[in-house]
Symmetry: C2
């Protein structure tokens, strides 16, 4: 059973009837399960979480675009969250029995289909990006819808698929593939936020640390403890247990111990199994040995 997750972000977080129509378009697609809808009025944005196989997710994405392009007009859209288009971002994430490469292939299949049917220019991002300057969503989205026509006039911002000018009301769309994000925090047995900041600086990729770690040091006011707050963007290549041991070692350098760690929100089973394998020195273990996994085929 192949399970891919898709988390389309749509630029509508206020009109309940429109949000309902968007959700219905997803729910009405065979083979797709809509797990969550989160709408934020001040962001004026809704995030849908759905799962299915590649073909079903493609159909659901097309159905979502059909409703969104008809109902949303970026010329009058206002909200706190930066956005480029009616359907702003569509990431595909490998969950089970599927590789990141298959999610890249899905993004590169959905992209031209969206461009052809709706006349919306499509940029590929993250793992699906055709060149490194488009890996980061923030770089593509800089300037937002209002600056999009001017931005796309430059050759370097020609879209990967579709017209080289924005859709008049629906803007442009960013489609891609990425690994599941893990929000992972390590709490220190100290209130010295300077130590947490130094550790964050040591562990994060941007300042010389591990490739798939974003980190910052913060103080948890209510508990008077310092925290290294992280996002792990590829748990296969930079696994949780290695991050934990790295932070523990750095903390020791300041005479500080680790109080506890925490996972915020969802985490793939494989990330936890990898932690068990690491510390237990498990050899030859396979996901097929997880009892629950035998119940789902």
């Amino acid at each position: 059973m192949a399970v891919i997750e898709s988390i389309p972000n749509v630029s509508e977080g206020r009109r309940a009837d429109v949000i309902q129509r968007l959700a219905d378009a997803i729910r009405g697609t065979k083979g797709v399960e809509l797990l969550d809808v989160s709408s934020d009025a001040s962001h004026n944005r809704s995030v849908f979480t759905l799962v299915g196989d590649a073909a079903s997710l493609k159909a659901a994405t097309m159905a979502l675009f059909e409703q969104a392009v008809a109902a949303i007009d970026l010329r009058t859209h206002q909200g706190e969250h930066p956005r480029l288009g009616a359907v702003d971002v569509v990431p595909f994430v490998p969950i089970e029995g599927v590789t990141i490469e298959e999610c890249v292939a899905l993004a590169r299949d959905v992209g031209p289909a969206v461009a052809a049917r709706f006349g919306v220019p499509v940029f590929l991002y993250e793992e699906a990006a055709a060149n490194p300057s488009r890996r980061n969503l923030e770089d593509i989205r800089r300037g937002e819808f209002e600056g999009l026509a001017a931005k796309m006039a430059a050759a370097e911002w020609r879209p990967d698929f579709g017209p080289s000018v924005p859709h008049p009301t629906a803007g442009a769309t960013v489609i891609g593939a990425r690994m599941p994000l893990i929000a992972y925090n390590i709490n220190l047995a100290t209130d010295r936020v300077d130590v947490a900041k130094k550790i964050a600086s040591a562990v994060r990729h941007s300042s010389g640390g591990l490739r798939f770690v974003k980190a910052m040091g913060v103080l948890l006011d209510d508990r008077h403890i310092a925290q290294v707050s992280m996002n792990l963007t590829n748990f296969e290549k930079t696994p949780i247990p290695r991050v934990f041991e790295f932070v523990k070692r750095e903390a020791a350098r300041y005479g500080v111990t680790v109080l506890e760690s925490e996972v915020v929100g969802l985490v793939p089973q494989a990330a936890l199994v990898a932690a068990a394998e690491y510390f237990l020195q498990l050899e030859g273990f396979s996901a097929a040995q997880v009892l629950e996994n035998t119940l789902r085929d």
Copy 2:
């Protein structure tokens, strides 16, 4: 979703047509999935692995008894494996969304139903046992079918349900509830099997160690390494990481290090998550945070 596993052991491992009929009886029960059938001719015994909720498993057990009692005659049955009855043992094991107490309740519901409908005496064992002398399957089964009538003549071996004499052809049945077993081995970076035996003696319950560990020390001839080979009979109360750390500490006392560990066969997700929690000092983690678990409701 409540998932209970049942692993009935039936005293027939040679006649393919009978085994087929037994499997069909299980497969034909609504809400039950038959995951595996393993038959052994020299043991003259078959082991069925099925999952379902309590009501479905009760129905499947009754259907299995109906076929087994009709087809199997213990008076002429021969095989290497000790046995007391046509359906010899029926354990119920909590897998997901269900407690051991609910499995005990299921055993105490199925027991009298079997006794009433088939006239087979039923002994409750393990967690479902009404008194401590019946917790161990081996104690109940000692003397086997051939010694059963004499054994049951004593007041202490009156069955929990049903007649106080064996069924003439189907003997008696042992029904109960237990936690999933985990076969877990730790390989040492040494060929000193005496060290593995000393560690096994230290860690196992029977000689003073941890409550839910059975262990022995063996030599892996082909690899020239010593192994502490274990069965963990309740991973919630005696978790894998505690066993690993215990063995590592004992090995260090002999100047030996742990080479690796291994899980043989299936392991519940919760046992691996517990290992991740232990070593990562994870606080406030819930199984609902495992991404795959959100896909199965």
